[in-house]
């Protein structure tokens, strides 16, 4: 059996926002079929990392490398990264007035498939994905995220992920602002998308989403760095003991 190649890997990533370093050298490798979680307190740099990986112009990667399926993505614009197979579910999805969910997703999918590609299956695809995520069919004609509740926005982010079917999905605080039913629906959507060929990177403050989406590896991020990595039990321990525990543990280790 030949050795599997990494699906997504980044090495020694440093990110600056307005000249200030917010991510200070992080590395990670996701193999096909894996789910990783980055957990950390507010301000630890985890959202900055996901924005930078997606190519947000305000989050500059000043050092480091990132490869998606062997392809260097650092020099790519965010639309190229998307077409290469990277997806970011936004923490705060923006409203786009006048652009309906259906038209937006059609344009997005068309750009993934190519300008002249056949789109005759699109309506059916959208309809079935919406049904699977319990999104009201009326949302297809509504303007994207305009007047949506927090839960509706997150569900529509997952809808976009299902339709675009990326190689790697970065999910930035997708669980925030969801009640338990919405959380379950969203988690089901993520699990339905997940297969042996793609990868997921969950970025979250709390571990509750991890009850439904099981990570293979959990990374704890504090002050711009990964300070600890471990199996799913790490998330439970964090839930129990809080982030201070990691902080103290690290300090103790330094003090030994």
């Amino acid at each position: 059996m030949s050795k599997k190649k990494p699906l997504f890997e980044f090495k020694d990533i440093h990110v600056e926002v307005e000249g200030k370093e917010v991510v200070k050298g992080v590395s990670l490798t996701i193999m096909p079929g894996e789910t990783h979680a980055i957990m950390g307190p507010n301000g630890s740099g985890k959202s900055s990392l996901s924005n930078a990986l997606m190519g947000h112009p305000s989050y500059e990667i000043v050092k480091g490398e990132a490869y998606l399926d062997g392809q260097n993505i650092i020099e790519m614009a965010s639309d190229e990264r998307s077409r290469a197979g990277l997806f970011l579910a936004f923490q705060y999805p923006l409203a786009v007035p006048g652009v309906s969910v259906a038209n937006f997703l059609r344009s997005a999918l068309q750009s993934h498939r190519g300008k002249d590609a056949d789109m005759s299956d699109y309506r059916k695809l959208l309809k079935s994905e919406m049904a699977a995520l319990s999104v009201d069919p009326a949302f297809a004609t509504r303007y994207l995220n305009e007047g949506f509740s927090g839960g509706e926005k997150k569900r529509v982010e997952i809808l976009q992920m299902s339709v675009l079917n990326p190689k790697v999905a970065l999910l930035d605080e997708t669980d925030s602002g969801l009640d338990i039913d919405a959380l379950k629906t969203v988690a089901e959507g993520i699990n339905r998308y997940h297969n042996a060929d793609n990868g997921i990177l969950l970025v979250t403050h709390y571990q509750r989403l991890l009850n439904y989406v099981k990570p293979d590896i959990v990374h704890v991020m504090m002050n711009g760095k990964f300070v600890k990595s471990g199996g799913p039990e790490l998330a439970l321990k964090l839930e129990e003991k809080g982030y201070e525990w990691v902080e103290n543990e690290n300090n103790n280790r330094v003090g030994v």
Binding site: M54, D79, F87, P93, L94, V99, F104, A108, L164
Partner: protein, 443 residues
């Protein structure tokens, strides 16, 4: 040698001196033309500081007029006319009226309307055949006292279009008016008079095209006046489509008066010309009258636009709504001033006004000034205005879904105008979307 230009500017010359043919018609009309000539002479050039003239030099409309008989028209006109004739033939338009230079008015495919009692004819012909009707309404919404340039049109219009819809007659499909300006060094004074009877309905697409394409050869000047009267319970929909060429200066005044229970929808589509100053006003004269103005303006290159809207609530229990959207790129400029006037005693009125401006690059310039004159307290009124560039976060969101930057910009612009387009009744929307799409191709 006296050119006509110097004759218009020189108050010693009468209309007969300028063009004897303008003095045909009945005495009342000759009197009104002479009065307009006099008012034009008397009125000083508006001062730049005055609110309607803060953004545009009035001197640009004191055009040096060459002999109108030399006027030529652009090659594109035949193509446009052919397209609209085709629309009439396939039954999507109620009829077509062509107006070359405010001088040559022709009808196409309007026979079915005539059978319903709808009168469509050159104003000169209507003055003979529908004398009482024309005398009752002409110059009533726009007089020579309205302003210096309205007086200029009032004195110098050669021929215009007259449309009358009898009581109870509803024309559902649009009647298209194609008004072609002359090419370089020409002046055109189009005029339109529309009367829509009680319980009657009319949809008009009033397209202004043509003009000069080369500033070095000379500009084209257009000074137009549109008067619309909607009688009780009538429904008027009026689309003003400005598609003039790049070296054309136009000054257009629209005034509508609507009576009890009547509704008026005005859709200014402001796309063309180099310098374009327009003034859209609706006076609500009776209880239950309602007016909507949904405007879309796209400016590029060095286009300069100056638009004014007026909702004049002269009667209580009337309502109005304005949504005017502006998109600018390159070095285009737009000024929008919107006045809501609610008369003393006009109680229980509602008036809303919104002007949003999207600036696609630095170097564009937009001004927006809402004005309220509310002379009693029992009203519900609001206005809003925004100026902004494309939000970088929105752009990132679209790009993060694989949509390339230029396509993402186009989508955001298209979304920006869609929220206004979706207010337009469905049967009219598709036609307007086509006009918008044609203009957006160049954005």
């Amino acid at each position: 040698m006296n050119t006509k230009a110097t004759m218009i500017q020189n108050s010693e010359y009468t209309i007969s001196d300028i063009s004897p043919e303008l003095m045909r018609g009945p005495q009342w009309l000759r009197d009104l033309r002479n009065k307009a000539r006099e008012d034009f002479n008397q009125a000083p050039l508006p001062r730049r500081g005055l609110h309607l003239w803060r953004y545009t030099d009035p001197g640009k409309f004191m055009y040096e007029l060459n002999d109108a008989s030399d006027t030529t028209y652009g090659d594109n006109y035949d193509v446009v006319e052919k397209i609209e004739r085709h629309h009439v033939d396939e039954g999507t338009l109620a009829g077509l009226v062509t107006d070359l230079g405010g001088r040559e008015i022709k009808r196409y495919g309007t026979e079915a309307l005539a059978e319903k009692g709808v009168i469509i004819m050159p104003l000169s012909e209507a003055i003979e055949k529908q004398h009482d009707l024309v005398e009752k309404y002409l110059y009533q919404a726009i007089s020579s006292q309205t302003g210096k340039f309205e007086a200029m049109n009032g004195a110098l219009w050669n021929d215009g279009i007259f449309v009358y819809v009898p009581n109870g007659q509803v024309i559902e499909q649009p009647l298209h008016l194609l008004r072609e300006a002359g090419m370089e060094n020409s002046a055109t004074f189009p005029r339109l008079l529309v009367v829509v009877g009680k319980n009657a309905g009319l949809t008009l697409v009033d397209e202004y095209g043509g003009g000069s394409m080369d500033e070095d050869k000379g500009i084209s000047f257009v000074n137009g006046a549109v008067e619309i009267f909607g009688l009780a319970e009538s429904k008027v929909r009026y689309v003003s489509l400005q598609r003039q060429t790049s070296a054309t200066n136009s000054y257009l005044t629209h005034r509508a008066q609507i009576e009890q229970g009547a509704s008026m929808l005005t859709i200014p589509l402001v796309f063309g010309g180099s310098l374009c100053k327009q003034n859209f006003g609706v006076r609500l004269n009776g209880a239950g009258a309602h007016s909507d103005i949904y405007g879309l303006l796209f400016g590029s290159m060095r286009q300069h636009f100056d638009n004014h809207t007026l909702h004049h609530h002269a009667h209580g229990s009337t309502s109005s709504n304005i949504d005017f959207k502006v998109v600018l790129k390159d070095r285009a400029q737009s000024a929008y001033t919107g006045l809501i006037r609610i008369e003393n005693g006009a109680r229980n009125c509602e008036a809303y006004q919104e002007n949003r401006n999207l600036l696609l690059n630095p170097g564009t310039k937009a001004q927006t000034i809402p004005e309220l004159e509310i002379l009693n307290e029992d009203v519900s009124c609001s206005h809003g205005a925004t100026l902004g560039s494309i939000d970088q976060e929105s752009l990132f969101y679209l790009q993060a879904r694989g949509i390339a930057k230029n396509e993402a910009v186009r989508m955001i612009v298209s979304g920006f105008v869609t929220t206004t387009l979706n207010r337009v009744p469905v049967d009219l929307r598709e036609r307007i979307e086509t006009f918008v799409a044609q203009r957006l191709e160049g954005i």
